[in-house]
Amino acid sequence: MTRQPVHFYQVGSFAVGNRLLSADDRTVQSLRERTNSIDSGHRACQGCGEALGARYALDAAMRATNDRVVAVNATGCLEVFSTPYPETSWRIPWLHSLFGNAPAVATGVAAALRVKGKSDVRVVAQAGDGGTVDIGFGALSGMFERNDDVLFICYDNEGYMNTGVQRSAATPPAARTATTDAVGPEPGNVFGTGKDLPRIAMAHDIPYVATATVADLHDLERKVERAMELHGARYLHVLVPCPLGWGTASNDTIHVARLAKESGLFPVFEAENGTLTSVSTIRRRVPVEQYLLLQRRYGHLFGKNPRPDIVARIQAMADENIARYGLVDESTESTEVNA
């Protein structure tokens, strides 16, 4: 057998930290001195994926820039639960203006920093999927097109959760929301609709586009770090499960995000200057059912009147992603194991 290199750790490549790794190789989240950009006491639901994703991304950005980050936030859950007067959870300079204008506000912040000669201070703008793919889309496209020096992060929980779980252009087919009820012959959200923003971002030929999930911290942090190495418009799309909107158990947030990736439904990749540069291959492939079954928003596909036909269509979507991005590495593919 080939000898393993000694740098193997029980959990080195997947867990948050490891006492055996040198400090430089640990995730930011494993460090006691991490920023906690969004601090305790925020009013997010139990098990909120967005709160987690925001801390992951911003703490990583803080470390990558020597704590020189200002954040712009669109209206949405993240904004509402983090800054209800008189308490804020943000430990970094943070600005909230409106729902649809975060990219433009960030442009303004970046312009001001440039003109003030503060080139070391970097701008991160963040929004949910509604603020990104819907109401903020025009502003975002403008920010991309001008190649403004902003990292824009979309925390995608696939709907308008702040307002009570309505459909957004990021809501996946068949998912039940308050505006796509699970009734009629095609229950839930309609197939053939929706917006693939990472690919749209790539079409702008901006320096960096990447997707990530809260289930793979190492990957997410590496991407933030890479994004902060670059200048110009950069886009990071992070899948952040919403226990409320998805109807998942509060402890399943990371688990379900992992299944989104491992099923192929959420492709994890990165691209530079419009060209795909890497994909995170599936480690333990699972059928989409495993992912869907954990979520009440897909409950109508199972149970008393199951809809295997719809599940098959969703599986086909996953298969299409797998084919498009080459998500299955044939040489290392392992057998199906519960992830």
Binding site: E79, I92, A104, T107, R146
Partner: protein, 421 residues
């Protein structure tokens, strides 16, 4: 230096003297010449230390200004009409956040029907947006007001909108005494933000405020506008001391000392009114004019004092509240509470309809003869209206009456649609 210069150009050059650091541009008539000129100055390097950003919408323009201002940069933009409405959410937001952005509003009508010409509908639509709104009578005043606007905005942390009549002023080439850099620098200190995104002193700007504090936030904003009522004339006086020129202030009276009838108006039409008043004065009528420079905050006390002895007050407005009438009139009426006087509202100049001296003279004569209706539409084509109403009586069909009216008016292609047409 006195120069014969297009209004927009004068504004652009004056804004440049104010050392703006971020200027956002989105084209909409009739403000385009302003931002084009600023853009050219930035591009050529004549205006250094300034980021000129071509954005994809007015909404983005104001949003970029918000971001820049919150980061401590002096931010400027310009818009008009539909553009103002498109950025409306951000307009409210800028004032709510207390960001001292200065914006030129090249006043223009709001559609439908789409209309690019001047009136004051846009400014009036945002009168409650929390901005200070200053109206310029001439291009000289428009230019001067911008310098004062930055000073005022930054002192009070309130955004300021300088309103100037679209085309009538923006596109007019006339003499403007241009300030020099030294004078502007002496008048306008560098921007010291009240709150700023600073990595060394982080704060959260733009919190969600619930019922427990929202009313207080709004009341504080009201108090700041009250403060502005003090500061606007003080700053104008300082400006006069520095330049020897009277610009700005709250209101300006013309021949009101013994006036029985006083016309109240905003903006460039004041010039034409003054010409008309002079003529009526020559005819022995005791008529005066009060021009309001500061529309928000509304200088109620000054207006009340200036109008106190008038028998009749005629408010001439380039906008109106459909379903009610005068907009400015309401503010004037509130200011004149408990006083014995007649209030007349004259709606004129909508959508660029020329306000001619002759029509004004006629209107003033009728006012003097107490013949003016409480609500008068100047130079209204009553025949066209009647024909349309007659048709509507016959055919109960909804739809745009504008087209019918236009079809009616055979004079459609003839001359001149005039100083707004």
């Amino acid at each position: 230096m006195l120069r014969q210069i297009e209004g927009s150009k004068a504004i652009a050059e004056t804004v440049a003297l104010c050392r703006p650091e971020v200027v956002c541009a989105y084209p909409i008539s009739p403000q385009t010449h302003i931002i084009e000129a600023v853009g050219a100055m930035v591009k050529s390097g004549r205006l250094a230390q300034c980021e000129f950003i071509n954005v994809e919408s007015e909404f983005a323009a104001m949003s970029v200004a918000i971001g820049a201002s919150a980061t401590g940069a002096r931010a400027y933009t310009a818009t008009a009409s539909q553009g103002l409405l498109f950025m409306l959410e951000a307009v409210f937001n800028a004032s709510g956040l207390g960001l001292p952005i200065v914006m030129t509003l090249a006043n223009r009508a709001i559609g439908a029907p789409i209309n690019i010409w001047n009136d004051h509908s846009d400014a009036m639509a945002v009168r409650d947006a929390g901005w200070i709104q200053l109206f310029a009578e001439t291009n000289q005043e428009a230019a001067d007001l911008h310098v004062q606007a930055f000073r005022l905005a930054e002192e009070l942390s309130v955004p300021v909108m300088v309103c100037m009549d679209g085309f009538i002023l923006t596109h007019a080439v006339e003499g403007v005494d241009m300030l020099d850099q030294e004078t502007v620098d002496a008048f306008l200190p560098p921007y010291e933000p009240r709150q700023v995104l600073d990595v060394d002193d982080p704060v959260s700007i733009g919190a969600m405020v619930g019922p427990e504090a929202f009313e207080e936030v709004r009341y504080l904003a009201y108090l700041r506008q009250r403060d502005a009522l003090e500061r606007i004339p003080e700053i104008a006086r300082e400006f006069t001391q520095l330049t020897g020129r009277e610009s700005g202030g709250l209101i300006r009276s013309y021949r009101t000392d013994d006036a029985e009838i006083i016309v109240v108006a905003l903006g460039s039409v004041l010039g034409t009114i003054k010409d008309a008043v002079d003529i009526r004065r020559d005819a022995g009528e005791r008529i005066g004019v009060v021009g309001i420079t500061a529309f928000r905050p509304f200088p109620s006390e000054a207006v009340r004092a200036a109008l106190a002895q008038a028998r009749q007050v005629v408010v001439l407005e380039k906008s109106f509240s459909t379903g009610f009438g005068g907009v400015l009139s309401t503010d004037v009426a509130m200011s004149m509470r408990d006083l014995d006087f007649d209030l007349r509202t004259v709606i004129a100049g909508l959508g660029g309809r020329a306000i001619t001296r002759r029509s004004l003279e006629d209107m003033l004569k009728r006012a003097n003869d107490d013949e003016l209706e409480p609500l008068t539409f100047l130079d209204l084509d009553h025949d066209a209206v009647e024909r349309e109403r007659e048709r509507m009586r016959k055919v109960r069909r909804s739809g745009p009456s504008a087209e019918n009216l236009l079809r009616d008016r055979a004079a459609f292609s003839s001359l001149p649609r005039g100083g707004g047409a």
